[in-house]
């Protein structure tokens, strides 16, 4: 946060304060707009209103305790945050996760991607005046949250993905629930498209708005649907596969127009691709099999073993009192979150608490390009441009 007066100082223009409590900022984002009439001359984002020092708190927790904090970074993608953190710690430990657990992770993360895109679509549409899309999107998101509740007992802050695997076996009846969702969802995506894709108001508000060239997008470290809408097919699931994504068959949708409309089309296409991945993951998940890696002293033993075996009891006690100590070193892992490249950097000094945990937050880095998108455009386009980057302020400020 900073004094903007020193940054914006021209005399014949007007400085307008947008936010932090503006409904279209999706949280608490403040933007200082220097206006010449209705044209934006300069835009300066001011962030930090939600800064809670998550990275500092991580230094005072054991490796397993950090997982609950990761949920709260990007609250529309808690499972993705769990995944990237666990992958980083597993890399530090050199731990191999059983295939079944990897497929369950993929299933959950892809459902999460759909739910996150639904929130994006709904809020972006309501910002631009399309009320009914919002209600439809939240209706389907509810179905996904119900599936999460089945799996993890929680709808949002699931902490379902754990170091070495996942927390629980899939519950009875999960196949029917996911199957029901997969049958319903394609027609629902069609429904959103009939409301928006050919809608002249929607096209008027999004087409040719917020252009950024692919070179500039890469130079500004933009990733995710924003970069793919500029024609760069950079998707971590394909380029640097993790959690067995190389075994799945899916496309990376791209466009070349690089405007708000192209980003809308990319995200809608991504929802359809995610449905394909969910279907494949469901077929790959066997009814029986391990959900956690075998690593005594790191992965908590099963409840039955803990109650009957002396060694398991000792491990259980040690894991929950002292934690475990990965070898000294650093690991950086990136995954494809709904917003772009989500990275986690973990440095260990050989003690049971991490020396440093850092999250490469895609919202934070993509937001930096906002002035480039809006400068020289009308003030009404600012709302469309904020929406199109798909920021989550919890992740921006951490």
């Amino acid at each position: 946060m900073s004094t903007a007066e020193t940054v914006i100082g021209a005399t014949k223009t007007m400085v307008l304060n947008m936010g932090p409590q503006h409904p279209s900022t999706h949280g608490v984002l403040r933007i200082l707009l220097e206006l010449d009439g209705e044209t934006v001359v300069k835009a300066v984002p001011d962030i930090g209103y939600l800064h809670t020092g998550i990275e500092k708190s991580c230094e005072d927790k054991t490796y397993s305790q950090v997982i609950t904090l990761t949920d709260r970074i990007d609250y529309l993608n808690p499972l993705g945050n769990n995944l990237v953190y666990c992958l980083a710690v597993e890399k530090l430990l050199g731990l191999e996760v059983p295939k079944r657990a990897q497929y369950i992770r993929v299933l959950m993360v892809e459902l999460q991607r759909i739910s996150s895109h639904l929130v994006w679509l709904g809020t972006h549409a309501i910002d631009l005046g399309a009320m009914s899309v919002f209600l439809y999107c939240f209706r389907e998101r509810e179905e996904i949250l119900n599936i999460f509740e089945m799996f993890a007992g929680q709808r949002m802050m699931t902490s379902y993905i754990r170091i070495g695997g996942v927390a629980l076996d899939p519950p009875t009846g999960w196949r029917q629930a996911v199957e029901k969702f997969l049958r319903m969802m394609p027609s629902r995506v069609d429904e959103y498209e009939t409301l928006l894709t050919q809608n002249p108001i929607w096209i008027g508000r999004t087409k040719d708005i917020g252009y950024i060239s692919p070179e500039d997008a890469i130079a500004l470290s933009m990733t995710g649907p924003t970069l793919r809408a500029a024609g760069v097919a950079y998707d971590n699931r394909k380029v640097f596969p993790y959690s067995s994504y190389q075994e799945f068959n899916f496309n990376v949708p791209t466009r070349t127009e690089s405007d708000c409309y192209a980003r809308y089309l990319v995200r809608v296409a991504e929802m359809r691709e995610s449905l394909k991945i969910v279907r494949q993951a469901m077929d790959k998940i066997t009814d029986e099999g391990p959900i956690k890696a075998e690593a005594p002293g790191i992965i908590p033993p099963q409840r039955e073993k803990m109650k009957t075996e002396m060694e398991a009891l000792i491990y259980h006690f040690k894991i929950f009192t002292e934690g475990f100590s990965p070898p000294p070193g650093e690991a950086f892992v990136t995954v494809e979150s709904p917003r772009g490249e989500l990275g986690c950097f973990v440095a260990s000094d050989g003690s049971p608490k991490p020396l440093r945990v850092h999250f490469r937050a895609p919202s934070y880095i993509n937001l930096q390009a906002l002035p480039r998108l809006v400068e020289g455009r009308l003030i009404a386009d600012v709302v469309a441009c904020i929406g199109t980057i798909d920021i989550v302020l919890g992740e921006v400020d951490r």
Partner: protein, 174 residues
């Protein structure tokens, strides 16, 4: 460590060495990740080389972060994570900085995306980036004292903040 990651590491190392023999002070391989430690004075030219060299093409600066090794010296380690989209490759550039004089060249001239990443490090670690166009605090208020992510900064903070219980008692006895 796999063989392919070994080969990849050698490509980056060779390119940088043939450009300037002093460019690499150490190469670390851990869990298949390559870290190239660069002397502080050569950071910006080495980074520029990584981006411009036709054999490297590290066009995306994906992340920059800092580790505070206090009380071990040199105290700060700056890690720049580079990705080459055309070559599907990753590398980490590392610079070590002492706590007495934490100044590094800014990489904004090489990758404009370094802007906010460096502001975040400045805000939370107090490392200054010379040549940065807009080095201000970004997450914390301007008048914040100290740099919270340093290891000698307590997790609870420095100032005594009254608990809500205390505040309640005070307000109810008035």
């Amino acid at each position: 460590m796999t063989e392919s990651s070994n080969q990849k590491a050698s490509v980056v190392a060779e390119c940088l060495r043939s450009w300037n023999p002093q460019a690499i002070s150490e190469i670390i391989e851990f869990r298949g990740e390559t870290t190239i430690v660069v002397p502080r004075e050569l950071l910006r030219p080495a980074a520029g080389r990584c981006r411009a060299d036709a054999k490297l093409q590290f066009n995306l600066l994906t992340d920059a972060t800092c580790v505070d090794r206090y009380p071990v010296g040199p105290r700060f380690e700056l890690n720049y994570h580079l990705v080459s989209i055309p070559r599907r490759d990753k590398v980490r550039l590392q610079v070590r900085v002492s706590g007495d004089d934490p100044v590094v060249d800014s990489l904004v001239p090489v990758w404009p995306g370094a802007n906010w990443l460096e502001r975040e490090i400045f805000d939370l670690f107090g490392i200054r980036f010379s040549g940065h166009p807009d080095l201000r605090r970004i997450l914390l208020p301007d008048d914040w004292e100290g740099y919270p992510l340093r290891r000698d900064y307590p997790v609870e903070g420095f100032r005594d903040v009254p608990s809500t219980g205390e505040l309640f008692r005070k307000s109810s006895t008035l």
